[in-house]
Symmetry: C2
Subunit: 114 residues, 2 copies
């Protein structure tokens, strides 16, 4: 039984970057186009302003997100590096649609009770 | 400026599940085939036995990984749900190869020094 996959530090960094709490959700919103801070905050329920700031700063540091000017208003947009995550997030979205239950906890609880 | 993407709780759960520390690396190794605990531990440097156990238990709970018997030895294998993550991890691997530097910290430090 041979492990052929091996360990790739670049893959490891990528998966933990995208998987950081809220980061995937923020990038997914920005795939639709630039958004202002308040629009991002409204689009991701449960995400505090403090955490949104922190995540955006991390994404700017990684050159995945950049600040742009949209008619005198500052907004956040994906860079080329960020936009190229589209196929990754698309295929994860398809997987989630197929395999992740909408309310898994409630469902398994009711199944156990019946 | 309209946010069309919206927020999808299933996508959110999927990205945070796969992005949990070490989980992506473990799944990636299992894409090559079943592996015993010690083989997994050896394939992912820096991952402690305690954390590997914890991650495997989570992945079993999510029905992404299952225990199989390989010639009298217990091993871990991806379920169908787990194997269907292949296109997600493949496209993330391609993105990482293109965009993630091998040692970004060292590189930017030497650039700053020159």
């Amino acid at each position: 039984m041979k492990i052929e996959g091996g360990f790739c530090p670049r893959f490891h960094k990528a998966v933990e970057l995208i998987g950081r709490r809220w980061t995937g959700a923020i990038i997914r919103v920005l795939l639709s186009g630039p958004a202002r801070f308040t629009e991002l905050a409204a689009a991701v329920p449960g995400l505090s302003d403090r955490l949104l700031s922190e995540r955006l700063r991390e994404l700017e540091d990684e050159a995945i997100v950049e600040r742009v000017d949209t008619g005198g208003h500052e907004a956040y947009a994906l860079t080329k590096k960020g936009r190229e995550l589209t196929p990754v997030l698309d295929s994860l979205g398809q997987w989630a649609e197929r395999w992740i239950a909408f309310e898994p906890a409630t469902r398994s609880a009711s199944r156990r009770a019946s």
